[in-house]
């Protein structure tokens, strides 16, 4: 705990003591959520009951939504909770109902290649963190350049209080058009793959 306090103090040198404990509390919450996330993810590997895996995946989404709130991303948290924990879970459950309830045991001998891929990829990422700007640094290029620009310009350009909405719908509105088309594509795909008539929702199984 003292280490965390030290860190918090280092991050915000000349702030009153109240501030430091506040930061320490938020760091503690972050660590707690991260631990839970890791526990959830790891237990998903071994579980063969797919219903349970789907539930864990929903829990994972909820936890990450909580983490997003801790990191100030309220819009993302909202969406992740609605989509990841809600819609995705319903979809996966209906998928499981139509496919299989349990996973077959996995062949131990074939774990080598996946492990290799995972370690190389993870290694590359850890390697990159060595030169990475520190977490939460307002001076980091990621936070100081275009991101800060949006915060500065939104009141003048768009005048919408929620900067995320302003960026989403106006500055980067074309991305959002693309996103809408992606959703449309997914709906169309389900229609093409599972529907029995184009204008129907697919009643009664196969074609």
């Amino acid at each position: 705990m003292s280490m965390i306090l030290f860190f918090a103090a280092a991050a915000s040198d000349a702030e009153p003591m109240m501030e430091v404990t506040g930061q320490a509390a938020s760091v503690a919450i972050e660590i707690l959520i991260l631990t839970l996330l890791v526990a959830t993810a790891v237990s998903m590997i071994r579980m063969r009951q797919l219903f349970g895996v789907a539930m864990l995946s929903g829990i994972y989404s909820l936890l990450s939504a909580a983490f997003f709130v801790a990191l100030d991303a309220v819009d993302v948290a909202f969406t992740e909770a609605a989509v990841g924990a809600g819609v995705s879970t319903v979809l996966v459950l209906s998928g499981i109902a139509l496919t299989a309830k349990r996973e077959m045991p996995v062949d131990r001998r074939r774990q080598l290649l996946p492990l290799l891929i995972v370690f190389v990829t993870g290694g590359a990422l850890v390697y990159s963190t060595i030169d990475m700007p520190a977490f939460g640094d307002p001076q980091a290029p990621a936070n100081a350049y275009v991101g800060a620009e949006y915060i500065a310009q939104t009141p003048q350009d768009v005048e919408v209080p929620n900067i995320v909405t302003a960026v989403l719908a106006s500055y980067r509105g074309f991305d959002t058009l693309g996103e809408t088309v992606v959703v449309f594509t997914a709906g169309l795909a389900c229609l093409l793959l599972l529907g029995t008539t184009l204008r129907g929702g697919g009643k009664g199984g196969r074609d």
């Binding site: 309220v74 819009d75 948290a77 909202f78 969406t79 609605a82 989509v83 809600g86 819609v87 319903v90 979809l91 209906s94 998928g95 109902a97 139509l98 299989a100 309830k101 349990r102 077959m104 045991p105 350009d157 768009v158 005048e159 919408v160 209080p161 929620n162 995320v164 909405t165 302003a166 989403l168 719908a169 106006s170 509105g173 074309f174 959002t176 058009l177 996103e179 809408t180 088309v181 959703v183 449309f184 997914a186 709906g187 169309l188 389900c190 229609l191 793959l193 599972l194 529907g195 029995t196 184009l198 204008r199 129907g200 929702g201 697919g202 009643k203 009664g204 199984g205």
Partner: protein, 146 residues
């Protein structure tokens, strides 16, 4: 289908969820939320209803044939806003063209509301469409012998 308590709960929740979806849809400028979240919530109200009362009853309220139309219209509303601005001399999706003389960027506001509506409609229709597609399929007997 469904337990009594479940049905009562769903019946009570149905209207507030839809209301909440509308709130999220139109309040996205000020607080968290927007078209996408609203669409998901709206669709989830109907999915919940279908879970409690059966797919048939839900499909009587929202026939499956409406959904592709809703999906397409949603995209068209969004893209149409862009085309509108294009035709009126601006760049694609340049909302300032909608109300060029406004001092407080009314064009931006109208544009954002329009595209968010498009997103909301497209997402709600698509989510329901996907759910219909899955729920309409008959599960087969399965072997879980392993």
């Amino acid at each position: 289908m469904g337990h009594l308590i479940l049905r009562v709960t769903i019946k009570t929740l149905f209207a507030p969820i839809i209301l909440f979806a509308l709130y999220v849809q139109f309040h996205g400028d000020y607080g968290p939320g927007g078209g996408f979240q609203a669409g998901v919530i709206l669709a989830s109200a109907f999915i919940l209803h279908a879970l409690g009362f059966g797919l048939d009853r839900c499909q009587r309220v929202i026939p499956p044939s409406w959904l592709p139309v809703g999906m397409a219209l949603g995209v068209l509303i969004y893209a149409g806003t862009g085309v509108y601005t294009l035709l009126f001399g601006g760049n694609f999706l340049d909302y300032d063209v909608i109300q060029p003389d406004s001092h407080h960027h009314a064009g931006q506001h109208i544009g954002i509301i329009a595209v968010e509506l498009g997103v909301g409609l497209a997402v709600a229709a698509t989510m329901l469409q996907i759910y219909y597609a899955f729920a309409g399929r008959e599960p087969e007997p399965m072997d879980d012998s392993w």
